[in-house]
Symmetry: C2
Subunit: 260 residues, 2 copies
DNA sequence: CGCGCGCTTGAGCCCATTCAATCACTGTGG
DNA sequence: CCACAGTGATTGAATGGGCTCAAGCGCGCG
């Protein structure tokens, strides 16, 4: 586990980050998308960070090889963005899954293993729960059970939608859909406006997530900008000018060949 | 629910189909991929088909609109192949998810809804469990809980792999990967040989699942055939001649541009 | 048989990729 | 303070591959 830098306590700024959490607790459990289960964790184990639960700060680009983790744990994302990065034999890179604060990755699977490395796409913090602890928590708290089922199902539907994007959408449509995905999945920062989406990582990662080349992503953004659908004051900040049109595009409003 | 044809009992040939199930029971629960939970269902409710659990036969192409089902049920696939079919505004068609006997689709999600229609890609049979019944079953049987968690996680990893296929693989690579997916996910029929894969639906559906055009799929199959990697004695039957090479291809061994 | 349907094969054309250059920005050291 | 390299985003030009349109073929069915 040399790639993991253990934290003495938590050296990422918790109070600053707490604002990003729905639950608002300083000691976030990482599972705070809808229902916060911090209190459940505390009630079950009488501690905010019981034995078998550890937190790590990950630098941008830092990887966790699933095989190196003990007890096939559950990994919760606290802050930042985490992706599952797979490589083909000739080096092509794909981000198959995207995880934001509140999402979790369950590495416990009897019959199937995860392809790819868990990679921080931006400075991130994760919480690693060893499988026995996790199972205990599930057994003790029905609220947690429900939350997890829901969260898992939600992620599943998300992936189905993403498959839809990758399968038949044109580059611009994919980008439009991606913006909505970000809007839905990431919590809006207080400082930003309504229709503003912060893009949490670079063009290359966007491209690898959308099945495109970085250049194509760049071109897509400029096209959407010149058409007045979006604005990008900075490379990692998008303001949506015409939500209706953008939604139209995301839903197939920009086919390859204009219908004859 | 006019699109559903209710069954008086079960008019699909159970004894014939039972051979396809791991559990081998005549009354298959539809959740028999690894562990059979038929006995759990029976123990919990004292019946093979408790109230709130119904079976339906679906003709090829027949759809179930998720919205028309009561109590956001859990749907288990008993026989055949079921897909989630989504359409873009201009008619482009995508099969975002693929479900085989033993898989299930959980429509209970508080925060997110399923995009697309549940569609039988071949003559199929499904089991619809209303949510309350399902929850009861989960509550009563820890074995079922474990099985479901595992099944869900497995499906999730499957989808991640599929995203990898769609994002960066060339058509031929996708087809190769698809063959392995079929090989892994569908139970081999007794009558067939070792390295034989039965393709359970047509080119169009394959194309919509792999994000290609039917013509491209066809071309891909012929290319693989002429290269001696596979044989296709019939349009829906593939025998793998060179497993090693096919795996190589599925893993990125056929880039767009041969390395200069 | 004729018809329909689905799979296969062929020809031409967009358009995303590829290769390459430029630009914007950051941090480092002289 | 500027020069410099390094990184990432953007823009440009040319290519090739998958899509589109279309025809041919094989098979089951009325």
């Amino acid at each position: 586990m040399q790639s993991l830098t253990g934290l003495e306590g938590c050296d990422f700024n918790e109070t600053e980050r707490a604002a990003e959490n729905t639950c608002g607790l300083v000691h976030s459990c990482g599972f705070h998308a809808r229902n916060c289960i911090c209190s459940e964790l505390r009630a079950a184990f009488n501690a905010d960070l019981p034995k078998g639960v550890n937190r790590f700060a990950l630098a941008s680009g830092q990887e966790i090889e699933p095989e190196t983790l003990p007890n096939s744990p559950v990994i919760g994302v606290l802050t930042g963005s985490v992706g599952i990065v797979a490589h083909l034999s000739d080096g092509r890179r794909t981000i198959t899954g995207l995880f934001f604060p509140g999402d979790y990755i369950n590495l416990a699977s009897l019959n199937r293993q995860l392809n790819g490395a868990i990679t921080a796409l931006a400075p991130s913090a994760v919480q690693v729960m060893e499988q026995p602890v996790f199972e205990n928590l599930l057994r003790l708290s029905s609220l947690t059970r429900d939350h997890f089922m829901d969260q898992m199902n939600s992620l599943l539907f998300q992936l189905l939608d993403h498959s839809n994007d990758l399968a038949k959408k044109t580059p611009i449509e994919r980008i439009a859909a991606f913006l909505f995905e970000l809007k839905n999945r990431t919590l809006p920062r207080k400082s930003t406006q309504f229709n503003t989406v912060a893009i949490p990582f670079g063009r290359r990662d966007i491209a690898d997530y959308l099945g495109l080349q970085p250049e194509t992503v760049s071109r897509g953004f400029t096209t959407l900008t010149t058409e007045g659908v979006i604005n990008l004051p900075e490379a990692d900040l998008v303001t949506i000018q015409d939500v209706h049109r953008l939604r139209q595009i995301a839903n197939g409003g920009r086919p390859r060949k204009r219908g004859v």
